[in-house]
């Protein structure tokens, strides 16, 4: 062991670095149990080591960042002189492109997240029962009666079932409360993950994606829609068209 550094302090650094022999390590551990000052010193050393690691990581990312920014700069190439025919061809192609761009431009600017939402939203019809509950809950009764505000007033001295969370999500969506609708749908997904079940999972994914659209969280919406589209077993696969995904992409880039 290094004995050139001041006594116990040196040992403590070696302890921090994992360089002590087992017997010396035990000695330090024993001392640490009773010596508060030594514990404070160790905490200080751990903090210093963590600061160095944070600094190193920041430097590394900054260095890669610089490389990536240089990589992204497109090389400037000189364009060779073109013949007249090629110029005409380009002009014609540009005109066609302009017309097409005009069409897409119109679609692009007339689109809104609210429009995409309403075009694709249909109130969930509560006819089939997919979970194991036998009795209809108060939330379910109110939902069937389309009393969405009432749905949200219920609180029980037990957690909401997955089905209830889903219906609450729908009720929040109906009342225009995107944030809470998102939370409720996410809870459905989380509860299913925990229980390894699929109760209202597909429904929650679809309506969560739609609510993300209305909430302008397009990245999240796109990811969910793409997952649904690529899953042949998904109950809502047919509701997620290429057009819907294209529209959300357009909204994202606006």
């Amino acid at each position: 062991m290094d004995n050139s550094t001041p006594g116990l302090s040196g040992k403590l650094v070696d302890f921090l670095d994992g360089k002590l022999e087992p017997s010396e390590k035990q000695q330090i551990e024993k001392l640490l149990e009773t010596d508060k000052e030594l514990r404070n010193e160790l905490e200080g050393l751990e903090a210093a080591r963590e600061a160095v690691k944070q600094y190193g990581l920041k430097q590394k990312v900054a260095s890669v960042h610089q490389q990536m920014m240089n990589e992204n700069k497109a090389p400037v190439r000189s364009i060779a002189s073109t013949k007249r025919k090629i110029r005409y061809a380009i002009a014609v192609a540009a005109s066609i492109l302009l017309i097409v761009a005009g069409f897409f431009g119109y679609s692009f600017y007339s689109l809104s997240s609210e429009k995409v939402y309403t075009d694709n939203y249909r109130l969930y019809d509560l006819t089939g029962v997919r979970d194991s509950s036998t009795e209809e809950s108060a939330i379910e009764t109110s939902y069937k009666a389309k009393k969405f505000t009432e749905v949200l007033t219920f609180n029980f001295d037990r957690p909401f079932t997955i089905k209830e969370s889903f219906l609450r999500g729908m009720a929040f969506a109906e009342t225009g409360d995107n944030s809470n609708a998102i939370l409720s749908f996410k809870k459905v997904l989380e509860d299913n993950n925990t229980a390894h079940s699929t109760i209202f999972r597909d429904e929650a994914e679809f309506y969560l994606a739609l609510t993300y659209v209305r909430n302008k969280d397009f990245d999240f919406a796109l990811e969910l829609f793409k997952n649904i589209e690529s899953n042949p077993e998904h109950l809502y696969k047919d509701r997620v068209s290429s057009k819907l995904i294209r529209q959300v992409r357009m909204l994202k880039w606006r």
Binding site: D2, S4, T5, S9, G10, V13, D17, E41, E43, G44, L45, E46, A47, A48, R49, E50, A51, V52, K53, Q54, Y55, G56, L57, K58, Q59, K60, V61, A62, V64, H65, Q67, M68, M69, D219, F220, E223, W253
Partner: protein, 201 residues
């Protein structure tokens, strides 16, 4: 020429956890996510420079969280980075708003709202302060400490890339540098707390 490669989440996370191929891994994160997250900032009142700064901060935090096993893959890397990016930018906007509020003497009610996320802001600012503090160390100290604690080089390997006479001299120098940094941190208790939170929080 370097091969441009996108990594699946599992490989990316493995690399970060085992601290290997880090340059390649960070580049993969940039290639897969920089454009979209940059767009998000620029579309929310941020400049290109803001977007670059926030993205760097997000990548640093992401790697740190993965290495400390605080990200367990419950969501995709993309979703997680998107959320980190948004949170960091909101936090930055609030920080700027707070500075503005002080300048313009906003009403007290405004301050109360901002206190809701005060501890997050303190964490970010504390972390930035930690980085500034390490930057204040002498170049030699920074180099030795980084080689040992960040690059995980042995004393022998450090000796090969420095001008010291022998390993013992390197060891002594490293000890003194670490103690110096410890003292600097001890002089600012809130920084020590920030670092404790980063370690154990």
């Amino acid at each position: 020429m370097e091969v441009i490669k996108n990594l699946p989440d599992s490989e990316l996370l493995d690399n970060i956890r085992s601290d290997r191929k880090m340059d390649e891994t960070i580049k993969a994160i940039y290639r897969a996510h920089f454009d979209s997250l940059c767009w998000h900032i620029q579309n929310n009142n941020g400049s290109r420079q803001d977007a670059e700064d926030v993205f760097q901060e997000v990548v640093v935090n992401f790697i740190d969280l993965v290495q400390k096993d605080k990200f367990r893959g419950d969501s995709s890397v993309k979703t997680f980075l998107f959320s980190l990016n948004r949170f960091t930018w909101l936090n930055e906007l609030k920080r700027r708003g707070r500075a503005l509020a002080r300048e313009e003497k906003y009403e007290k009610g405004q301050e109360r709202v901002e206190l809701d996320t005060g501890h997050f802001i303190a964490e970010r600012e504390g972390k930035a302060e930690v980085l500034r503090l390490v930057g204040e160390l002498g170049e030699t100290c920074k180099k030795i400490l980084l080689l040992f604690y960040f690059e995980n080089l042995s004393m022998k390997e450090i000796l090969e890339v420095t001008d010291y006479e022998n390993e013992q001299v390197v060891r002594n120098k490293k000890y003194k540098c670490l103690k110096q940094l410890e003292q600097m941190i001890n002089e600012k208790p809130f920084l020590k707390q920030t670092l404790k939170n980063l370690l154990h929080g």
